[in-house]
């Protein structure tokens, strides 16, 4: 059963590892500003069963920390189905989960990936100043531009 007119935000990461928590914090901020407007799910890693979850939505956004961005606060890109070349069952890429949704459930929600730049991922709670600034830029982008689409 599709959940009408709702967008699912999936935050991926671990708030116990500095900037890896940026996806979760993005969801926190959005939920604070727009309570109930989005469905939100927090994940340490994506799992196969997330394919079932996203099959119920029309729109899905995966939000994750990005360690490889150069001179860029975030990246916003369409999520396309992809068969993973290497695989462990405990850490699936958004594209692989999206692929499974199509393969198993024959559903293809509109899906995007929001990768927000981080630089430190050690065992510590709290974002670096660098990641905090990038998180704010990503929020501004999402709220001012993307919400117009939705």
């Amino acid at each position: 059963m599709k959940i009408p007119n709702k967008t699912l935000l999936i935050g991926i990461g671990n708030i116990g590892r500095e900037d890896d928590g940026i996806g979760w914090l993005f969801l926190d901020k959005i939920s604070e500003q727009f309570p109930g407007y989005f469905d939100v799910e927090y994940r340490y890693q994506l799992q196969v069963e997330d394919a079932e979850l996203i099959s119920h939505y029309h729109k899905v956004v995966f939000v994750d920390a990005h360690a490889g961005l150069q001179n860029q606060a975030f990246v916003w890109q369409k999520c396309s189905p992809k068969v993973p070349e290497t695989f462990t069952s405990h850490e699936l890429e958004p594209e692989a989960v999206y692929y499974l949704t199509g393969t198993i459930y024959r559903q293809f929600p509109v899906a995007y990936i929001l990768g927000i730049a981080g630089k430190s991922f050690e065992l510590q709670i709290g974002l670096t100043d660098y990641a905090k600034a990038n998180l704010q830029k990503a929020l501004d982008f999402f709220l001012h531009k993307i919400m117009k689409i939705y």
Partner: protein, 484 residues
Amino acid sequence: MSRKIVIDPVTRVEGHGKVTIQLDENNRVKDAKFHIVEFRGFERFIQGHPYWEAPVMVQRLCGICPVSHHLAAAKAIDQIVGVDPDDLSIPAQKIRKLLHFGQVFQSHALHFFYLASPDLLLGVDADPSIRNVVGVAMDFPELAKKGILMRKFGQEIIKMTAGKRIHGISTTPGGVHKNITAKEREYFLDGKDIPSIHTMIEWSLEVIDFIKKYHQEHKDFLDTFAVYPSGHLGLVNKQNGFLELYDGNLRAIDAEGNITLNDVPSDDYNQYFYEEAKRWTYLKFPYLKHLGKDKGWNRVGPLARINVCSGIETPFAEQERLEFMAMTQGKVNNMTMYTHWARLIEILYTAEMMKNLLQDDDLLSNDLVRKGKRRKEGVGIIEAPRGTLIHHYEVDDKDRITRCNLIVSTTHNNEPMNRAVQWVANNVLDQKKQITEAMLNQVEVAIRAYDPCLSCATHAMGQMPLQLQIYDADNRMIQELIRD
């Protein structure tokens, strides 16, 4: 020129491991070892923390079976506040058991559908690019759907009892935080939003039928692959010796079925077990003191539990246990691949137990916490999905933890997994000039049967892969396989 093979990392296991196989000049296997190369140090860094933090902190050992660590620690902390397992309120016991059964159910479903089924359904020698759960999903979409929904069911049980699916909190010293509401449990009974518990039982029976059919078609493989004698260890019910996952006595048998640990109270584990450290791995080797390190090691987990128990209290699972035991004429089963079958019997058992509990009004009670006289020490032992899990804490007068000892399931299975690797080395790789990927995968098949959680066992965060390397007689690496 001799050769040494190293598999690092092992794939589709929880954690990071390495297999090395040393060959001689004639390609004969000289030695084979399964190394755990990560270190975590939970036992050390929890020292100094207040005891009530233990059940919350230690579940960070693992993202797959945090509930097991949460509950084992909770049982130990109960004792520190003076509450023994039988003194816990009945509703608290039942809510904890429901949480535990949900955990075992989802973990076993994860293992079978995502980790084991690619080897079984697609073949151990299938193209590695499709020999994974994606390959299973493409070729067997209906099975994949059921696997996903079974895992989801277990996780929803965890979410209901512990607040969230991973790293939730259910317990408090001497009990549980919250009861279950009628509306919450109806979610699992009426089948409106998710398939009901009755459907879970049906699907569990279906998947056991699958493994029995697979057994008929692949009997030679299952009956011969990685077969070696071993001891078996598990908890059994204190009254009747039946299968027990939450609280019971420790029972061990040898490879012929002779009792080697006769239903001893779990609090006394320290009298019977010793852990040997070896220089080539961080993972210790537990064994029964009175039998010594050569004879005192035991398998733990589904196969061991089915071997040691006297019966199962739920009717469908008991019927399946009897059928399973008939395969060995009632004798001990030392065939590693039967672990998958045993795991499915436990899926059925936990589904039946969840049904019973979900229909029990004690879940709705507010009698949740008991108090007792403060003690300085507590031991909590449960059967985690992968086997016997031991948590032991000592605290000082300021409520700080002064000592922590964890013997996790995969640690018990260290010697058995090494024996499994040695079996594959001797029976599959020995005297082969060319080592193929399919041959190497059989090393992993043997290890995966134990569903090892290496991140738990080494007390590590991060990747969970396996590395295999081949070394020659001069100790030069001549072949390597890395999965991540």
